[in-house]
Symmetry: D2
Subunit: 346 residues, 4 copies
C-alpha cells in the first residue's frame, strides 16, 4: 500500500517538529514536504538534530502532498490554508483560525477580520472524542488549542449530562513549551526555572473556544467560564483543574457518589482509545510524549464541589498528536496509527 | 545589648535549617542551642555544609535559651512545647498543634487527642498581619501552615470587608520542599521533575485552619472552602490562586472596579512590611528566599469573578521567616529584624 | 509469525519499566511475564500508570518465556541468571555480574565472590557496536553500565586505532534517573534540583569495565583511566567528555586534522544504526527517550588535546534500549526492531 | 558615618541586578545611581519586582557617586570606564576589558583593539584571594570571569606550590544564568531544561585569563590549559573539575597523601573568609546565593591524578559578590561587609 504523502507548513516551531517526530513512525503516512521561512533551504536533520532520520530540505513552497498540516501562526494560517482546501487538499490547521464558529470572534480575540468566513461553517473542530463522526468527510479540520483540549475533555461528560451549574472555573498549569519556540523573557531559562505564575488574566485566547464547545455540549445553559492559565517549570504537560457546583440530586453522597461519577465518565469515554479515567489523581508525567489524556473526576468531601483534573502532553494530545489522530479519522485509518508509543517515564 | 538566646527543637528538617540560616543574620538574636534525633551528637556545620558558619553541636536536649522554635512533627510538638511554656519560655511552634482553636479538630484532622487543650485558648495564631496586637504578650505562638499563610493573606481583605460569597476556591501550586526532607517516592527527583499533580483531594490538613481564620474574619458567614494543593517541579514557592464570587454592587465595572479593589487591598495591608500588592501577575520567584508575600487581586473581565493570587517562599514566609517575624513582635523588636534580605533573583 | 516471549526479572526499577515501555512497540517480541518483590501480586498497569496498556500481573516467579532480562541488583542477578542460562534460556543481564572478565574483580569492586565464575568466560559484553559478531550465538549477555556505554563508544575509535596516549580522563555528567528508583537523600528533589556535584571520586564501579574494554581494544598499552561521574539536575541523559593526548603525527594541524578525525570516527561507526557522529557539540536532549549515541570528536585548538563528547539516554542506550538491541542481534532480528522511536524534543 | 555612594552602569543585566540585591544589605555603601539603556526612565523596582525595596530611576547618565561598577558588555565597558578612572572615581569593571595584561589579546580573543591599553598596566585583577594587597590602592579593578574565578581558586595552591605538570584540564559545568539575560535559543527554557552540553570547544574567552593567572602563579612553567565549559539545567552555580598530573615525590601515597594535599590547600587559604576547603565532594547548591567558593582537592586512588573541584555561585562569587568584595578591600572596609548571607539551601 502506498503511504499518504504529508506536508507540513512551517515545520520549524515545536508543533511542526513534533508532527515530524510522530509521523516518522506512522505506518500509513509519510512526511514528504516541509516548509519554513527562517530556515528555508536548510536540511531538516541539520536544523533539528533529533530528526536526523529524515532526508528532507525545508522549502519555501509545499511539494505534491495529499494532506497538509499548517503550523503557521493565526491569521497567516487562514490565508495559506484556504486555497489549499479549495484545491482539494485535506487540511488540518493547528492555528486558531478555524476553531471559532462565529466570525465576529476573530476581531475580538485575534484582532483581525477573518478572510474566509465561509470556511468556518465547514471546518470541523478537531477534538476526535467529540467530533468522531464528522471527521471522515472533513476537508478542513481546526485542531483545538492545547488548553482547550484538556479542559473540554475534562468537562464534557459533566456538561453534556447536565450535572453542573454553568459557572465553571478552570485553573490550568502548563509546561513552557506551550509558549512555543519564539524567544521571550518569560521563557528565558533563568526566568522560567524555579518559578510559577499566572498569565492572561485579562482573557486567554483559548477561552472562547472552550466556552463555545461547552455551550454546544449543553445548549440549555450559557456557561460562564473563568479560565486561568499558569506556567510551571517543566517542558511539557498541561494539568487542568476544573471546579463546578454539582446540581442537586445527581449523585449519592460520599464515596458512592464519587464512584457513580467515575462510572459516568468511564462510560462517556468508553470507546475512546486515548482517554483514560484514572482512579487516582493523575500526573502530567504519565502522559509525557504520548497522545493520552488522563481524567480524574471527583467530589470534594468538604465542599461538595465537582473537581475534574485532566493531564495531557501539550505538544502531543494538545497539538501534533491530536492532529495526527484527526488525520487518521479523516483518512479512514485506525485512530491510533502512529500514536501507539507509551509515555516516557520517568 | 545582649542577644536573645534562641533554641531550635528538631533542627534537621527544612524549616529547622531555614531558621538557622535566617537567624545567622539577626541583629538581636543568636542561635545557641539546637536539637535533633537523627543527627544528635554531630556538628551542625558538618551535617549541613551551607551552615558552615555555625559552631554548634546537635544535642538531644535544649540548653538554656529564651525563645524556642519547635520544628517537630505534629503531636510530638504539643507534648514537647507544653512544659516549656509552663516553665516560662516563649515558644513558637511550627507544627499544627496549636493552630486549631477547637480541640475536636485534632482527632478529626490529625488522628490524635490533644494533650493540652487548655493551651489552645492561649496560643496566638501566628499570622502577624492579622494578629499583630496579640503577639507582644504571647507565650505560645502557632505558626500557620505554608498554604494557609498564602491563602489567608490573599483572601483576608475580601472576606473581612464582606465582598464575597462564602463559597471560595483556593488552587495552590507548591514547590517540593513543602513536602519536607523526609524521603518519599513522590519527591524522588526523577518522579517529581517535569511533573505537576494535585494531591490531598480528600481534604488537606491546612483546610481547617484556613476555614477557621476566614470564619473569624467574617463571622457573619460560614465559608465553604474548596482547597486543592498541587506539586510543581521547583524547590521553593507557593502560588495560590483564589476564586470567589463578588457580592453585587461592591465595585464599579471594568478597570475602575479593579483599581478600587487594588486600593482596598493596599489600604488593608498598608503598614505591613512584608506584604506587597502587585500591579501585575506575580511570580513565586519574586519572593525566593525572602519573607515577602506578593498579592495580586483582580476581577475577570469575562466572568466577573474575583481572582486573588498570592506568592510566598514556603520555607520563609510560609514557615521559618514568619516564625522569626512572630518572634520579633513577641520580643518588641523591629518586625523586619533579620528578615531584610531581598529575594534572590533569578 | 509468533512473537518471542519475553520475561523481565525485577521489573519495578527504572530499567525494568523502560524495558516494558520499549517492548510494547516491538514487532517481534512480546512481554509475557514480569516479576518483582516489592509489588508482587499487583497489576503492572496500576503500579505504573504509564504502562496502562499492559495487562500483566507482577509475579514472584517467571512464567514460560524464551528470553529473560534480569534487572536485579548485582550479586543477586548472577545467582538468578545462572540456572536460567543452564536451563537453555537466553539471558540478558542488566546488572554488572557478568561484565568483568576477571573473577577477582568482583570481591574488589563489588564485595562478593562470584558464584559462577565459569560463566564469565562465556558471557558476551553487550556493546553491540563492538561485539556484533558474538551476539547471535550468545546465551548470556552482560549489558554494559550506562557510563561505560557512553565512554567506551566515545573512545573506541581513538584507542583501537592507536591514536592516543594511555592516560585518559573521562568526565561524565548524568541525569538523576541513573541513580535508580531507590530513595536516597541525594536524589530527593529539593536536594538534587538546582545542584551539580561529583561523586564516587574514590573509584566508581564502572571504571573497571571501561578499563577492561579499552585495554581489549588496544592490548599494546595499559590504560590509566581517570573516570569522574557527576550528577546534574535532569532526569535522563549522560554526557561524557573524554580527554586524551594525541600521539604525534596522527593528524594534520588545524581544521584539516579535525576533519580527518571526524572521518575516522564516521568510518569506524559507518554501519552502526544507533551511533551518529555529529558536526557540532551534541546535547543530551538530542537522544532523549531514544537508543541513539551521538559522538563528537574534536581537537582543542589551544592545547591540541583530543576531546570526544558522547551523549546517550542513560535508560535507553545506557540500559534498556541497548538490552533490546542485544536481544535483536541474539535472535537474528533487525538490529533496530522496536527501537525506532526518535528522540522526544524538546 | 556616611555611606559610600555607589553607581552601577547598565544595571539591567543579571550582574547589575545582583549587585543591587547585595548592596541593599551593605552596612557602609548605598546604591544611589543606576543606568541602563533598554529600560532608561523606568523605576528600578518596577522593572525588577524583587528590587521593590529600592526607590531609584534607571537613568541614562550616572549621578554623583564615589565608586562605579560597570556591568557593560566588553569593548563598551573600556570606553565608558576610562574617563571615569581618569576623573578620579574608583571603578570595578565586571567586563573582560581590563583582565588581560597583554593588549594584543584583545584583538585575538575579543575582536577589538583596546582603546586604553595604558590602563591595562594599572588595572588590578580582582581576585581578592590572590591580589589582596594591591586592592586598597587600586583605582581600577578588573573583576574576573565567572569560570576563571572557580578555576583559578581551585588550581592556585597546586600551581603556586609547583606540584603539577603544566598540562591541565578544566571541565566546568555552569548554570544558565551565566549566559546572561539576553535571549538566545540555547537559553530558551524548553531547550535548556533537561539538557547538558559542552560549548565553546574552539576556545572560550575565559581561557586566556585563566592561563595568564596560572602562569603568573608559577612563571617557571608555561601552562597548557584545556578549558571546556558545559551548560547544565540550573539557574546558578559553577562546578569546575580540574585534572592535573602530580609531579613525583610531592605527597605520600594513599589517604595520607590526600590529607597532606588538603592541609596544603587549607594553609593556602587559611585567612580567606570566602574560601572553604571541604572534606567531601561539594555541591554547587552549598554556595547558592552566597559569596563562598568551596574547594575539594583529592587524588584519584586509581590513576594518581590530582583532581580539584570548586563550586561557586556564578552571579555572586563569580560576578557581583566578588565585585563587592573587591570594593570592600579598595575602601578599607571589612572584606565580608554586605556579603555575610549564608547560602540558601535547599
Amino acid at each position: 500500500m502506498e503511504k499518504t504523502r504529508i506536508g507540513i507548513i512551517n515545520v520549524t516551531g515545536y508543533t511542526g517538529i513534533e508532527l515530524a517526530r510522530l509521523l516518522y513512525q506512522h505506518p500509513y503516512a509519510e512526511l514528504t514536504s516541509v516548509t519554513g521561512r527562517s530556515a528555508a533551504g536548510q536540511k531538516l536533520n541539520i536544523v533539528f538534530p533529533h530528526l536526523a532520520a529524515f532526508d528532507l530540505t525545508i522549502e519555501t513552497e509545499l511539494g505534491d502532498v495529499d494532506v497538509v498540516f499548517s503550523a503557521l501562526p493565526h491569521k497567516e494560517s487562514a490565508r495559506e490554508c484556504a486555497p489549499l482546501v479549495k484545491k482539494g487538499l485535506r487540511v488540518i490547521d493547528i492555528s486558531a483560525d478555524f476553531r471559532l464558529n462565529n466570525p465576529q470572534d476573530y476581531p475580538t480575540w485575534y484582532s483581525f477580520t477573518h478572510p474566509v468566513p465561509e470556511l468556518l461553517k465547514e471546518a470541523v473542530f478537531g477534538l476526535p472524542e467529540l467530533y468522531h463522526s464528522q471527521l471522515p468527510s472533513a476537508r478542513l479540520v481546526a485542531n483545538p488549542g492545547c488548553y482547550s483540549t484538556g479542559a473540554i475533555l475534562a468537562l464534557a461528560p459533566a456538561v453534556k449530562k447536565g450535572l453542573v451549574e454553568p459557572d465553571i472555573i478552570i485553573d490550568s498549569k502548563s509546561g513552557v513549551s506551550g509558549a512555543g519556540r519564539v524567544l521571550s523573557l518569560g521563557t528565558h531559562y533563568p526566568e522560567a526555572n524555579e518559578d510559577t505564575f499566572a498569565y492572561a488574566l485579562e482573557g486567554h485566547r483559548h477561552l472562547p473556544e472552550i466556552t463555545q464547545e461547552l455551550n454546544l455540549l449543553n445548549p440549555k445553559q450559557k456557561h460562564s467560564i473563568t479560565f486561568n492559565p499558569h506556567l510551571t517549570p517543566m517542558t511539557r504537560g498541561i494539568l487542568s483543574t476544573c471546579y463546578a457546583s454539582l446540581l442537586p440530586g445527581k449523585f449519592a453522597g460520599g464515596k458512592k457518589g464519587i464512584e457513580e461519577l467515575r462510572q459516568l465518565y468511564s462510560d462517556f469515554y468508553q470507546d475512546k482509545p486515548f482517554v483514560r479515567i484514572a482512579d487516582e489523581s493523575p500526573h502530567t508525567k504519565q502522559t509525557w510524549g504520548s497522545n493520552f489524556c488522563i481524567i480524574y473526576p471527583t467530589i470534594s468531601p468538604q465542599s461538595g464541589k465537582l473537581i475534574v483534573i485532566s493531564c495531557i502532553d501539550n505538544l502531543v494530545k494538545g497539538a501534533a498528536g491530536q492532529a495526527i489522530q484527526n488525520m487518521n479519522l479523516m483518512l479512514g485509518l485506525p485512530e491510533t496509527a502512529g500514536l501507539q508509543a507509551l509515555p516516557v517515564y520517568p
